[in-house]
Amino acid sequence: MDVVSGLLQGFSVALQPINLLWCFVGVLLGTVVGVMPGLGPPATIAMLLPLTFLMNPASAIIMLAGIYYGAKYGGSTTSILLNVPGESASVATCFDGYQMARNGRAGAALGIAAIASFIAGTVGVVGIMLIAPPLARVALAFSSPEYFALMALGLAMVVLLAGRSMVKALLAMLLGLWLAGIGTDLFSQTSRFTFGRMELLSGIDFVVVAIGVFAIGEVLANMEGRAATAALPVPKGWRNLLPTWQDLKDSRFAFVNGSVVGFFIGILPGAGSTIASFISYGLEKAVSRRPEQFGHGVVEGVAAPEGANNAETGGALIPMLTLGIPGSSTTAVLLAALVLWGFKPGPLFIPENPALFWGLVASMYIGNVMLLVLNMPLVPLFAQVLRTPVHILYPVILGIAIVGVYSTSGSLFDVWLLAGFGLLGYVMRKLDYASAPLILGLVLGGPLERALRQSLMMSDGHVSILVSRPVSAVMLSLALLILLIPVFGKVNRWRLQALEK
């Protein structure tokens, strides 16, 4: 199926009234989530996942993806008005966005953030449309050894960029692999690590771990402080939210830079929108004719990171949909959602589910337009979300988490596990263990073990099959090189400096 007919089919799905409604709900929820500091897209998607079992899969994925890219739009609001990023990807927006707001240009900053997000978000969708189908065709030639190598490479990339200590990131990933191994082994029907509990025979539900680590962990971390931060006022009136012609002219390279950098970094597993936004900001500063003004409120300092942050979404969906390899916590949750609905993300996903894939792509075009329309005039309204009293907000998040988990299994045992994983998520934060490797280890643990065992069955137990095939040999060599980076002092110092920045 070529791109045009695929896209036409996609619009016929996305323009159905029910899907338009869920797309709107998704982007609206996403914007609200993005505005609220401390509640990120993975937590929200994980919490809402059980409720989507009542919906048809096309509507459900359209809504969940809407939350994902909608949160990127909303994240800029708190960065600009509060100097508090709604999520880590919006940190770079604080540098110039908050300064613009302090200089009385909050409206222009919010407006340019929305326009950059729209342009880059659209570029990201075009990228998915053009790159995902051919990549899926290439991946059709992959067998178990290549899949094992690809997952190993993906996990290595995530470990590389997860934090200062690669050892701690690896340990978090191994914890995820162990959690994935709890339950009945499908090859031999042996029960593993079940502690004699019947409830663990079918394994630990991904939703329980994701909601616990992200949602409960975040609430506990936010509960540490009692003080609230005052937001700068949003200018009233439509005209005050529009950037000037000069602002648009100053930002034209930033739009392109953010879109391209964000999209390609999004494709890399582990890099994520935070790194994309910082690289794009750094690049913009490096080529600017006024680098000394960066950090004091220049408009392109808002446009570049906001664009990168949004284009990354499109890039990140490509390996998830075509290879079944998520590169971030949010795409890991989306991957788990597809699996729970009975789909198998991978090379056959697009040919077997064209309506779902193209429907999602088309909905992202529509969702980006909805977000632009919503965000420009309604920013003052979204800013009101920041006034929600936290003594009501946090119990509500805890309540949604409990209901979300209980509705999946109907078991209080899972709610106990949820509380346990919440504490784990909080302690991991305090001890500087990244949660992304844990979640990716959990999601990829099962497929990784399956691919390894199938590879060894193919070769009668010879491990050499993993390195005798060129594609898997190259990918495993890359994974090994990445994991050996701490040994190379200079390269590791560069990695640490990059992460610090």
């Binding site: 914890l175 003594h391 805890l398 305090k430």
Partner: protein, 143 residues
């Protein structure tokens, strides 16, 4: 607590978990006629886990890093977690609505020092909203 101390204790915890994984995996078949058995994969990642955690323990002992982990707000976080656990325990006897109202009351009145009536009204209204949205509108079962 120093960051190095935290690494030491968390490394020991991971070493314990890794040892348990190796012990369990060694009781399952490593390889059979059909290929690797259920013990194959866990045994290897258990070994890697123990090796890495021991590396973390040793490097934390030798570390000169004097940075500290800020635990000042942790008491509030642990108190909230304790309240969550108590609410989950309560759910078995009272059901979701009463336990959730109590949790909301605790967070509002104890953690955020709001007036008692604010916590009580907030708890009741939040429980009622959950019942209306999840049970009546969406048909979801609550504990």
């Amino acid at each position: 607590m120093k960051a190095a101390q935290a690494d030491f204790w968390s490394g020991l915890a991971f070493a314990g978990l890794g040892s348990y994984v190796i012990f369990q995996a060694s009781r399952w078949e490593y390889a059979g006629n059909d290929g690797p058995g259920p013990g194959f994969f866990p045994l290897w990642y258990g070994i890697v886990m123990v090796a890495l955690s021991l590396f973390l323990v040793v490097s934390s002992v030798r570390s000169s890093d004097a940075s500290r982990i800020d635990w000042t707000g942790a008491r509030r976080a642990f108190a909230t977690w304790g309240a969550l656990v108590a609410a989950v325990a309560l759910m078995k006897w009272t059901g979701f609505a009463a336990a959730f109202a109590a949790l909301t009351f605790f967070i509002a009145c104890v953690m955020y020092r709001r007036r008692l009536w604010v916590g009580a009204v907030g708890g009741v209204l939040a429980s009622a909203a959950f019942y209306a949205i999840f049970v009546l509108a969406l048909g979801v079962k609550l504990p």
